[in-house]
């Protein structure tokens, strides 16, 4: 899987770099190891988390902000509350996430993109905090049949994140098995 991911990244490097900073943490943590290159994460591009109060108001920019803050270890109580709230929503509404996305007027690709970002947040939160509840919901999201990305998915960074999440899942399960 790692080789497949590397190959994919090499083939799509240009478009990934141009993808508005979205690969984010994957680049920081993987690119340094795989390509020995530094990438610039746009830490300034944060959106105001207080601007939303219901899950339906959460947008991908908010998820990216949470990912950045988690990466930097700067999640405050409000943001931690939101990470938890997003987890709860995904757990409780797990079987109807696609339908709920459509009710918001999003097309399927937008919904997939949104939940790939959310599952990335969960895996990263698990990596940082070793809270297995986030690994659990991350695995559940990756298991959703509609979230399995087609090879021609229009957002390359999503394919990368998705594949990276599969690797993180696999590694986490191996670690558990080995105690």
């Amino acid at each position: 899987m790692t080789k497949e991911l590397e190959k994919y990244i090499r083939n799509n490097l240009e478009s990934l770099i141009q993808s508005d900073g979205y690969p984010l943490l994957f680049f920081e943590s993987i690119s340094k190891q795989v390509f020995e290159i530094e990438t610039s994460i746009n830490f300034e591009k944060q959106s105001n988390l207080e601007a939303f109060s219901f899950f339906k108001d959460v947008r991908k920019q908010n998820i990216q902000t949470l990912r950045i803050l988690n990466y930097k270890g700067e999640l405050d109580n409000l943001e931690l509350f939101w990470v938890e709230k997003i987890l709860r929503f995904c757990e409780v509404r797990y079987r109807s996430l696609l339908v709920l996305g459509k009710q918001q007027g999003w097309d399927k690709n937008e919904i997939i993109e949104f939940y790939v970002l959310i599952s990335s947040l969960f895996f990263e939160f698990f990596e940082k905090n070793k809270d297995y509840k986030y690994l659990n919901i991350g695995i559940k999201l990756l298991d959703l049949p509609w979230l399995k990305l087609p090879s021609n998915f229009p957002y390359p960074y999503c394919n990368v994140l998705y594949k990276r999440n599969l690797i993180l899942e696999k590694n986490a399960l191996i670690k558990i098995k080995n105690g």
């Binding site: 079987r95 297995y132 509840k133 690994l135 695995i139 558990i176 098995k177 105690g179």
Partner: protein
């Protein structure tokens, strides 16, 4: 003061746990006023399938089809416990002969249940399963509804708690909590905590099977102690502990590999 009437909430007339609890209570001289049984209909199947998915099919197969055959003979499980304690009842409807009212409902929150509870003066309810209980029922339950939660509160709220405690390496947090239900999720006042020791090399399934007779004994003991004023409910402190959800089968499998390797 009126003698408290005991009402049992039951998830299915065939439930081995409910049958065992009721039989022991009656043997011990505790009068059961009524057993309120939730029937299994299409609406319930649909609700539970939305929540549990394929797990529900396994549950139905085990609890309604295989029943006692799902357990190892002479293993540490409810079937052996029933055998050792000469418990013979297989359907709660048989308690009708002993003067216990049997009330069947589609949902434990039905108006029928609320009205029935309202008609009793002093009462306490023992919950042996049957789904989420809403405030309308909680408000009419007299002293309250005692639940046997499969985790140590307040730390372990939610679902699959033996699994979560093991995964998190908290072997000392495996057990049961007898508590009064309230409108929150596992947040009600605590009557008793029962710790269960994890036996090295035991699988999750074996551990869960070992839980069942302990649950029966704990429910009976706690109810009797409560009726005799030997135990009082204690409020849970305001705490930061979060809720756990159903554990994904991949995590359960990984945990079982770890347990089999005796790594914990």
């Amino acid at each position: 003061m009126d003698k408290k009437k005991v009402v049992i909430f039951c998830p299915s007339p065939l439930s081995l746990i409910t049958n065992s609890v009721c039989e022991i209570l009656l043997k011990d001289g505790i009068e059961i006023e009524a057993i309120i049984v939730r029937s299994f209909n299409l609406k319930r199947f649909s609700e539970e399938f939305t929540r549990d998915g394929r797990r529900l099919l396994k549950k139905i197969w085990k609890k309604l089809v295989l029943r006692e055959k799902a357990y190892k003979e002479n293993g540490a499980n409810i079937v052996t416990f029933r055998k050792n304690n000469n418990l013979i009842s297989k359907n709660v409807k048989s308690f009708k002969e002993k003067g216990v009212k049997i009330i069947t409902c589609g949902n434990l929150n039905d108006t029928k249940v609320v009205n029935y509870l309202d008609s009793l003066s002093s009462k306490v309810v023992l919950f042996t399963g049957g789904g989420i209980i809403r405030e309308n029922v909680l408000n009419e339950a007299g002293d309250g509804i005692i639940n046997c939660h499969m985790g140590i509160l307040p730390e372990y709220k939610g679902m699959d708690l033996p699994e979560w405690a093991l995964l998190e390496g908290n072997k000392d947090k495996i057990g049961l909590t007898l508590h009064f239900m309230d409108s929150g999720i596992d947040t009600g006042e605590i009557l008793k905590k029962v710790k269960i020791e994890y036996i090295k090399g035991e699988t999750i399934l074996d551990l869960r099977k070992r839980f069942e007779p302990i649950m029966v004994q704990s429910m009976v003991e706690t109810l009797k102690e409560y009726l005799n004023d030997e135990v009082s409910p204690v409020k849970q402190s305001n705490n930061p502990f979060k809720q756990y959800f159903i554990m994904h089968s991949k995590l359960v499998d990984a945990l079982n590999v770890k347990l089999e390797k005796n790594a914990i």
